[in-house]
C-alpha cells in the first residue's frame, strides 16, 4: 500500500515528531508509514485522514498484488 503521507506532512510544515504527537503514535511509526514498510490500523488511518481533512483512500492507495 502506497501513501502520500510525507508529502502531506511537508505541505503542513510538520516534523515527523509533531505529526506523531498529533495522531498519538511514535515517531518510528510515522517513519515506517512514510517508507511504506508499515500499514496503519483503521483507527490510525482515520486519525490521519481527519487531521489532513481528506478521505482515507486519498492518503493511502491500495495496490493489488501482482499475480
Amino acid at each position: 500500500m502506497k501513501n502520500i503521507l510525507e508529502e502531506l506532512r511537508n505541505k503542513r510544515g510538520l516534523t515527523q515528531q509533531e505529526l506523531a504527537d498529533q495522531v498519538e503514535v511514535s515517531r518510528q511509526t510515522i517513519i515506517s508509514l512514510e517508507n511504506g514498510r508499515y500499514n496503519p490500523s483503521i483507527l490510525l488511518a482515520f486519525r490521519l485522514a481527519h487531521l489532513f481533512q481528506m478521505k482515507i483512500e486519498d492518503i493511502f492507495v491500495f495496490i493489488p498484488e501482482e499475480k
Partner: protein, 154 residues
Amino acid sequence: MSNTKNWIEKRMKLGWIMLIIGVTICIVGITSEIKITNRPFDLRIITGLGILFMGIGIGQIVRYRAATKDGVIAKRIVIEEQDERSVLIRAKAGNRAYWVSMGLIYILLMWISFASNGRLVYPDENILWYFLALAIVLPFGVYLFSIIHDERSS
C-alpha cells in the same frame, strides 16, 4: 490528559505493590532462613523471589516517577507504550518466543516419557538443569531478537 494520568498512576501503583510484595517475601525468606533449621529445601529461593519482585517494582517506579511530574513526558511514555506498531511487534515476538518455549518443553516431555518406558536414559541433574535454563533463556533471546529484527524491518 486524564487518561494519561490514570495510566501513569496505575503503573506507579503496580510498582509500589510489587515492591511491597518483594520486601514482604524477602523478610519471610530471611526470617525462615534464620528460624527454620530442618528444611527440605534451600529457603534462599524465597528470598531470591522477593528480590526479583523488588527489582521489578523499583524499575517500574523509577520509570514512571518523572512522568508523574511532567505531563509532556507522561504523554510521550504512554504513546510509546500504546503505539500500535510497537504493540504489534511485541505481540509477534511474544508469539515466536511462546512457540520456541513450547517446542523445548515438548522435547523434554517426550524425553521423560520415553525414559519412563526404558527406551531412553533419564537425563541426569546437570543435563536437566541446562535444558530448563535453555528453556528460559532461548525464548527470551528469541523475543529480544524478534523485537530488534522487526523494529528494523517494519
